[in-house]
């Protein structure tokens, strides 16, 4: 059997589904996906736990399925977190180089990063990620590795993702309740970006939008580093809810209509057309106006994209996204969603492919799995980093101590 230390599990507790992906680092240090487990989620609203018991049961089902498929025993997971409370911002740290010859040492680098992480967060908030961006030595910008360089002043930018401590703990508690360890918590938007983007795309500048069931996460990469992250607590559930209200149908039928007939764009050809939702047990068949359905849907999606566009335009990122926009999550399955995104962002929109990983290809090349695969990838990066230099990595966990206590 597999050596358990080489097993990495990503667990995403999503609003519409719970997904566990098992990866294995083989002898040549490549990541291979060997198992996937899924369960329908019932205890989550807008990306956060609303019913711990139901959520725990669903997580167990997903984990068991993944264990069976991969034929391993899962002991610990990398857990994806999201929610309206998660925020990202950039911070700056400064450190004077003290050594006599002004050569920058490893200690200087550690100090400047420490300074950058000294952030004034609201009480009850804690850091999920503090991701190092570029160093600056004196006035020279964009330095990747300052050790060994000469300078009087070392500066660094970090991107900090933080969230509300108790709300982060809720999802950790669900996992711990199943006698599983949490290796680390990871912002799901970051995980999706890891799964989708190649290094080249990160260099060019890319926007990843994860249209989930309860939340929409977005991550901006420019010049190879994370520039911006955000969460909008609006997702596929909102579309279903809008449809249920607008078309006067129950939620489950609205969901079915959305999947079968939905589109991100309202086209003139839809005018006056109607569709019949088949009757189910106890529910009579109903005729629904296709125009209304698509109009409600496209308005909601357009608004979601426009909110993101507005935020990025305000921060002047839109001109720097030459790699384009990548859409994943269940929302990426909506027909014409790429055209809508192209119209709003005025950028090329690429179909998202999780091609940065090998293993179970056909089962994995689906937009819904991007986050869970990204979690595994995050884990593999962490594990590769563990032996040897424990700090040089761009991603450093800070919460681990907090939650192990």
């Amino acid at each position: 059997m597999f050596d358990s230390s080489s097993i990495i599990v990503g667990l995403e507790i999503g609003t519409s589904k719970i997904c566990a992906v098992v990866g294995d680092i083989n002898a040549s240090n490549n990541l291979n996906i060997i198992g996937v487990g899924q369960a329908r989620s019932r205890g989550v609203r807008k990306g956060e736990i609303a019913d711990p018991d139901a959520a725990g049961e669903d997580v167990r089902n997903a984990i068991v399925e993944a264990e069976q498929m991969a034929n391993v025993e899962i002991r610990s997971v990398y857990l994806g977190v999201t929610g309206n409370h998660v925020r990202g911002f950039n911070n700056h740290g400064v450190h004077p180089v003290v050594s006599a010859d002004r050569e920058i040492t490893e200690e200087d680098v550690q100090d400047v990063i420490k300074n950058a992480k000294a952030i004034n967060l609201p009480a009850d908030n804690s850091v999920v990620h503090a991701i190092r961006q570029h160093f600056q030595v004196d006035e020279q910008n964009g330095i990747l590795k300052p050790v060994g360089m000469y300078g009087a002043r070392l500066e660094v930018d970090v991107h900090v993702v933080h969230g509300h401590v108790n709300r982060l703990k809720n999802s950790i508690a669900v996992v711990k309740g199943l006698q599983l360890e949490v290796d680390d918590i990871v912002f799901t938007g970051l995980a999706s970006a890891l799964a989708l983007l190649s290094n080249e795309q990160k260099e060019l500048g890319s926007l990843v939008i994860d249209l989930g069931g309860g939340t929409t996460e977005y991550v901006v990469y420019c010049d190879g580093i994370i520039k911006h992250t955000g969460v909008l607590a609006v997702g596929g559930d909102h579309i279903t809810n809008d449809l249920a209200y607008g078309l006067k149908t129950p939620m489950n039928r609205a969901e079915q209509l959305k999947r079968d007939h939905g589109s991100a764009l309202f086209e003139p050809g839809d005018k006056g057309q109607s569709i019949t939702a088949p009757g189910e047990l106890g529910v009579a068949p109903k005729t629904v106006n296709l125009e209304h359905l698509r109009r409600i849907m496209s308005l909601r999606l357009e608004e979601t994209f426009a909110l993101i566009e507005r935020e990025l335009a305000h921060l002047n990122f839109l001109d720097r996204l030459r790699g384009g926009v990548f859409i994943c999550g269940g929302g990426a399955r909506i027909p014409r969603i790429e055209t809508l995104a192209e119209n709003i962002f005025e950028l090329p929109v690429c179909p998202a492919k999780t091609n940065s990983i090998s293993g179970l290809k056909s089962a994995l090349d689906q937009p819904e799995f991007a986050t869970a695969i990204g979690l595994v990838k995050f884990g593999s990066l962490q594990q590769k980093r563990k032996p040897g230099n424990g700090l040089a990595g761009g991603l450093k966990r800070t919460l681990a101590d907090l939650f192990k206590a």
Binding site: R45, K46, A50, N84, L232, A233, V234, D237, H238, T240, N241, D242, A244, Y245, G246, M251, N289, H292, R295, I296, L299, R300, E302, E303, L307
Partner: protein, 435 residues
Amino acid sequence: MIMNPPIEKTDEPALQKTISIKVWGIGGAGCNAVSALNASVLQGVDILAVNTDSQALAACAAAHKLVLGAQRTRGLGAGGDPELGRAAAEDDLDKMAPFCAGADVVFIMAGLGGGTGTGAAPILARLARERGALVLAIVTMPFEFEGKRRQQQAQSGLQFLQSAADAVICLPNQKLFKLLDEKTSVVDGFKISNALLAEGLQGIWRLLTRTGLINVDFADLASVTRGRHAASSFATAEAAGERRAEQIVEKLMAHPLLDGGQVLTEADAVLVSLVGGPDLTLVEIDKTMEPLKRQCENAHIIFGAAIDEQFTHRLSVTLIASRRQPEETGARTSQPAHSASGDKASSLHFLDTDAPDDFRHPPRLAPPPPEMTAEQKEQLFKTQNVRNRKKLSRLQKELPLEIVFKGRFEKSEPTIRHGEDLDLPTYIRRGVPLN
């Protein structure tokens, strides 16, 4: 708003007392539109082309030309910036003044969305109005593909223009797509747009200058188009032969700018001007008007008919329909449903002693409301109230006042962005009606 002294000329037969009509094309689209006009026959009309771009102006076929803001833009155009267009117009107001002299009616033609048309048109409209002319603007709105920004510029330009001009007729270019097939070239597309503007202008010119059997004048026109936002559309149709009355109705109903009669159904006010030869019969008028009337049941219809020798055996209809903004609903409840021209003296007398509940300013050349007995008035109120109630109940859906059940998200923490609760359906917050 200061009312200009009434100009009686438009009430008089144009053939006896010539009224001075000027047409100003402003900006690139406006200049193209007046170039299209030049080819057709408009007697006694002064045409002036105004642009900030001297090169484009040189290509224009108008009789008079003026470069706006020559110092500011050096004749290089406003570069799509309405502020620059506005500033250019304000610089050269003095140069424009001679062109206003003695004008009774000024038509302004412009394409909104760019720099010169959007910025300068309202300024020049105000100038002409201050000099005592009646100002009617006929403008195009940009195609949707021209982008959100131009669309927004056009909208704000339109608002300025509406406050500056007496009446604005607006042709959304997007509607042109219904006139075009896949093979129509860009050049032809814009030609059609210009031709439509010209057609509209000629229709209105005819309406103003020709004596009517049943007269329609500028005041009627203004009462149809005033205070409405981007929702006036017009259509012209001609037919000849035995079945011309039936044919003309068919043509109107098929007219792309009327959306197969949809525009008429939604319209609040419709002006129909009919021109025929001396052989025009009353039955034909009835045959034309009856289906139109049925189509726009809710609208206030102003009807005019005129006789012209040139139109022997032919029939031409110019139709202007406009839809009122919802918030204005009810402001005109005391407006008489039908308007006919009456004599001025009684009008003044009537206005002086009019009931104070009619606080709306009468249009400058308003024909007097017909004399009515108290009983008739009451009846009129009743019918109009019923109509308004219907309209209000139809509007109800658009108002975001109803309490919306947030369904699944009722109990969860609301998602607030920029002061909006995103848990409520977007279409409700945007007020998009689902009929």
